[in-house]
């Protein structure tokens, strides 16, 4: 066997330590995988909103797992019980682990009490994707929206999460904004907890 290092072989995958794991995955590998994901779904659905829904579902599964894993790894087993807490957790920790940096900004919506926005100049998943004119409002950031939704829902804060393009003057490509709208019960619970 050509092996130089002493790597402990674990008989059962469940015995491997949870630890840090390898942090980096190559960007091109991910871009390739993601484009395949989009293309595969494109052949299966009839319209745009179903495509977005499928991407969102894929992201939801990721979000559910990311939440547990990160809480265990980085936060030493402390849960998030408050709204602002979970939002800043998503905004910094989750973004850092997934994309290597914190999100550009986190804002509270002005029109409604239950809306928050996370915005980013250029989403990593959109970097190598161009949208043909006839698919107007489609946004591959639906995948990231799904991840955020998975994290929030599993932490006990049900929300509707969507991704939008926001044109900004002075910049060629529009900014991406993830809009988070929390459900009624979340606000009521927040008010109750004071």
């Amino acid at each position: 066997m050509i092996g130089t290092g002493k790597i402990k072989q674990y008989a059962n995958v469940l015995d491997k330590p949870l630890g840090k794991g390898k942090q980096e995955v190559s960007l091109s590998a991910f871009a390739f995988l993601f484009s395949e994901l989009v293309q595969y779904n494109q052949t299966q659905v009839d319209n745009i909103s179903e495509l977005e829904t499928r991407l969102e579902d894929a992201g939801y599964a990721v979000g559910a797992r990311v939440l547990e894993l990160l809480c265990h790894r980085d936060k030493g087993n402390r849960r998030e019980t408050r709204l602002l807490g979970i939002l800043s957790f998503v905004h910094s920790t989750v973004w850092k682990v997934l994309f290597g940096k914190v999100a550009d900004s986190l804002e509270k919506g002005t029109e409604h009490e239950d809306e928050y926005m996370i915005s980013e100049k250029e989403l990593l998943v959109n970097r190598f994707i161009s949208i043909p004119k006839d698919m107007g409002t489609f946004h591959c950031g639906a995948f990231v929206a799904g991840i955020v939704k998975g994290v929030l829902e599993n932490a006990g804060f049900p929300a509707v999460v969507t991704a939008h393009f926001v044109p900004v003057e002075g910049q060629q490509r529009p900014r991406t904004t993830i809009l988070i709208k929390f459900a009624e019960e979340v606000l009521r619970r927040e008010a109750r907890l004071g």
């Binding site: 559910a64 265990h72 849960r79 599993n154 932490a155």
Partner: protein
């Protein structure tokens, strides 16, 4: 000496995902389902308690005769519930942490649907 200990993992929708009985429990006909009942009753208490604290390990939260219910809540609101006669706190905490790690590992399996029964 009969030691009864019952361990149940309950998902966020109050569906038990995993059950186990530990120790040489003398099965009494009339109280065969007793551990399950006690743990189900404790679920409501856990629900309220979970939102007031950001720690994961909630110590003894309910007593029934001489049995103590001990609960550990994860970030996903999955509850690990343990029913046993009074014992030291440290042993229980490390047991829960080990179970938590195992649960995360099984969760990372992309073919595992969160909330379905754990069978291995």
């Amino acid at each position: 000496m009969t030691t009864t200990a019952c361990f149940i993992i309950v998902s966020r929708n109050d569906i038990p995902i995993y059950e186990a009985e530990v120790g040489s429990a003398a099965k009494r006909e009339d109280a065969a389902q007793l551990p399950q009942f006690i743990l189900q009753a404790a679920l409501d208490i856990v629900q309220d308690l979970a939102w007031t604290t950001s720690a994961m390990f909630l110590k003894a939260i309910d007593k029934f005769n001489d049995l103590v219910v001990s609960v550990y809540v994860t970030a996903d609101h999955i509850r690990f519930m343990l029913l046993l006669d009074s014992r030291s706190d440290d042993g229980i905490k490390s047991f829960f942490q080990e179970v938590h790690e195992l649960y995360i590992k099984s969760l990372l399996n992309p073919l595992y649907l969160p909330g379905s029964r754990i069978t291995s």
